[in-house]
């Protein structure tokens, strides 16, 4: 079979082929590159240039190369930046803890329920992000089931002590923002994890058991390391958008939970201070890229065992 395919493929004019082949991959790249150039590179460039301009929206902006805007924006909004990174990290960790067992079950144990479970995971995407977040207002509101449960179990005291809630109210708290972020980005965690765990050969787990590894040791030394690509993908897909998110903090938070996305939104749309908004966007971008770079490098080269 293989020989035949070679023979058939080999017959037509071999001289013309090398040149024709060479440009085809580049031609295939072209639409994507154009798209990126127009919708990514150009706006990035404009944003960068915008951050270095001075003026106002009424009299116009002039490019003055005012790099001082960066330290200025940073000194003014560093708490928001840190808070955003902190919330996003919390949501990412919480998401990982919640998603991992579910993804594992779906990938390895669910059998014929697998597809139904996948659909259920994706189902929330059929409604808008906003609706889902607003729904959480109702879920967490006083007198709701969740509120009742944390009150009867006394969990609310723990949350209060940890500073995640105040005065026994779940809504409009750090907790609510983190919960909202966790929920909204959970599918982005589950799906890559599922994909990684589904590829996991069950015989490797048997081999581990056979080689004296308990359930926990099997997880730690075999399952988890092998699912790392999924963990990395899932955490990035959660962390990056969660850092820039401004819906959850706005709808579920309070005046102390404002995230950097809200600040940028306010600066761009309300204050019309485009340079500072652009500078802040860039700072956020650089912070995320740096953190992600460090993270991927660590996760990629070390075993984490």
């Amino acid at each position: 079979m293989a020989n035949m395919a070679v023979a058939v493929g080999g017959t037509p004019a071999p001289a013309a082929r090398p040149t024709r082949r060479n440009w085809v991959p580049y031609a295939l790249l072209l639409p994507g590159l154009l798209w990126l150039a127009v919708f990514y590179a150009a706006p990035m460039f404009t944003l960068g240039s915008q951050s270095l301009q001075e003026g106002n929206v009424y009299d116009g902006y002039v490019l003055t190369g005012n790099v001082g805007i960066y330290p200025e924006a940073l000194s003014e909004y560093w708490p928001h930046l840190l808070r955003s990174l902190g919330y996003a990290a919390s949501a990412t960790i919480a998401g990982l803890v919640l998603a991992y067992p579910l993804a594992y079950y779906m990938a390895q144990k669910a059998g014929r329920w697998k597809n139904i479970m996948l659909i259920l995971v994706i189902a929330p995407f059929f409604t808008s992000f906003l609706i889902r977040t607003l729904a959480w207002r109702i879920i967490l509101s006083d007198g709701g089931v969740v509120s009742d449960i944390v009150h009867t179990t006394g969990l609310i005291n723990l949350l209060d002590i940890m500073g995640l809630t105040q005065g026994g109210t779940l809504l409009n708290s750090k907790f609510a923002v983190m919960a909202g972020l966790t929920y909204n980005f959970l599918p982005f965690m589950i799906l890559p994890l599922y994909a990684a765990l589904e590829r996991l050969d069950p015989r490797l787990m048997e081999a581990a058991r056979d080689l004296y590894a308990s359930g926990w040791e099997t997880f730690r030394h075999v399952i988890f390391p092998l699912s790392l690509p999924g963990v990395v993908a899932g955490t990035l897909l959660t962390f990056i958008p969660a850092t820039g998110d401004y819906i959850n903090s706005r709808l579920l938070g309070n005046t102390q939970t404002v995230m950097i996305g809200q600040v940028i939104d306010s600066l761009f749309l309300r204050v019309l201070d485009f340079p500072k908004a652009a500078a802040l966007s860039f700072i956020l971008l650089v912070m995320i890229v740096t953190l992600v770079g460090i993270y991927v490098r660590r996760a990629g080269t070390e075993e984490l065992v």
């Binding site: 050969d201 015989r203 490797l204 048997e206 081999a207 581990a208 058991r209 056979d210 080689l211 004296y212 590894a213 308990s214 040791e217 099997t218 030394h221 075999v222 390391p225 092998l226 790392l228 075993e303």
Partner: protein
């Protein structure tokens, strides 16, 4: 046995029932300590399930498993001092070769894990590959790593699940010899699951033949070959010519008179099942001779011959239409031609005798599918 407390591996009424079929009917089996034991049978016969129950990867439906006097039926897999070489090798792809081999030792907290792992790798001649990942190794090398990974733990029992199945023929032969050598070196009980009868006979001290979830026969390779207990074993292990015959009387001197389609022949009484008159007289092809050197003689016509170098294989059609295979060694005796009418003969006692009330083709179909 006193000096090694682990002892024999014993399966007592061990059975496994899945939702829709029975993988293993209750079976009893004792595998002597330090022996190389083969579980042989066609695919689906229950041999792998039996192995997995011993490993602890499958929960038995009934019965017990003992190593020596210790009941390990309900011991978790990771607490059994039993290791497995998997058919697919199941090497951990994210670990280096040496980490793979040291895995079991580390789980048991062995301080010298890495050193022992290196020694085990040296034993399988892969010491220089220790730092590589499994996917950088050939199939044969991976196989040896899997073996080292299991052996290094010095288990009471080493289970091998078709470990050579994925190797090409030449490598397989080489590994068979290698495995046997290692087993003799380490003295650990090896339980080797295979569907390859030649492999089982070459390597094992004892072979258990399984079919459809039951044990057909247990014995040394020679016992099984020379005295199969059923048509299945007769056909599955090597080739057999099964001649339908009837016992007609006692010939004295431990022999019986038998009528084989009109030919009077004699067979040894010792191996005839009790109380049976209609029998299959089985004669292995290499025990038949062209010419009349043996006491039992039949005549037939050669319908096919093929020369293999060491021997010539003839198909000889007997007067009632049945074809027997004759293998004549290339020992200088004259060769016959197709169409030639010949006498074939054997000496009483070199045959085996089976009850005719069973399927004469049992064990054949599977073999044909496998080799086809």
């Amino acid at each position: 046995m006193a000096e090694n407390p682990s002892g024999d591996l014993r399966l007592v009424q061990l059975s496994k029932q899945f939702a829709d079929f029975t993988a293993c009917h209750p079976l009893d089996l004792t595998i002597p300590q330090g022996s190389f034991f083969a579980l042989l049978g066609p695919s689906g016969c229950g041999k792998t399930t039996t192995l997995r129950m011993i490993a602890g990867l499958e929960e038995p439906t009934g019965g017990s498993i003992f190593i020596g006097d210790t009941d390990i039926t309900h011991t978790k897999a990771y607490r059994r001092n039993v290791n497995t070489v998997f058919q697919s090798y199941a090497l951990f792809p994210h670990m280096t070769i040496i980490e793979n081999v040291a895995f079991g030792l580390k789980r048991r907290g062995d301080k010298e894990a890495m050193k022992k792992a290196q020694e085990a790798l040296d034993l399988v001649e892969l010491g220089h590959r220790a730092k590589q990942k499994p996917n950088q190794l050939s199939g044969g090398m991976q196989q040896r790593v899997a073996l080292a990974r299991a052996l290094v733990n010095r288990p009471d029992v080493l289970l091998l699940d078709e470990p050579l199945g994925a190797l090409d023929l030449k490598l397989r032969r080489q590994m068979q010899i290698e495995l046997k050598r290692i087993q003799l070196d380490v003295g650990i009980t090896f339980v080797h699951v295979t569907h390859d009868q030649e492999e089982a006979m070459t390597m094992a001290d004892e072979v258990a033949v399984m079919n459809a979830g039951r044990l057909e026969q247990v014995g040394t390779p020679t016992e099984l070959y020379d005295h199969p207990a059923s048509t299945f074993v007769a056909n599955f292990l090597g080739q057999s010519n099964l001649l339908t015959s009837r016992i007609v009387g006692d010939a004295g001197e431990g022999l019986l008179d038998v009528d084989c389609h009109g030919y009077p022949i004699r067979i040894a009484a010792a191996h005839v099942p009790a109380g049976v008159r209609d029998v299959f007289v089985g004669v292995r092809p290499e025990k038949l001779r062209i010419g009349h050197t043996g006491a039992n003689q039949l005549t037939g016509t050669i319908t096919d011959d093929s020369f293999t170098g060491v021997s010539t294989h003839y198909l000889v059609q007997l007067p009632w239409g049945f074809e027997v295979t004759v293998v004549q060694p290339n020992d200088g005796s004259p060769r016959a031609k197709v169409g030639e009418k010949v006498d074939i003969s054997w000496d009483p006692g070199s045959e085996f005798v089976l009850d005719a009330r069973q399927d004469e083709d049992a064990g054949l179909l599977d073999e044909e599918i496998r080799h086809g």
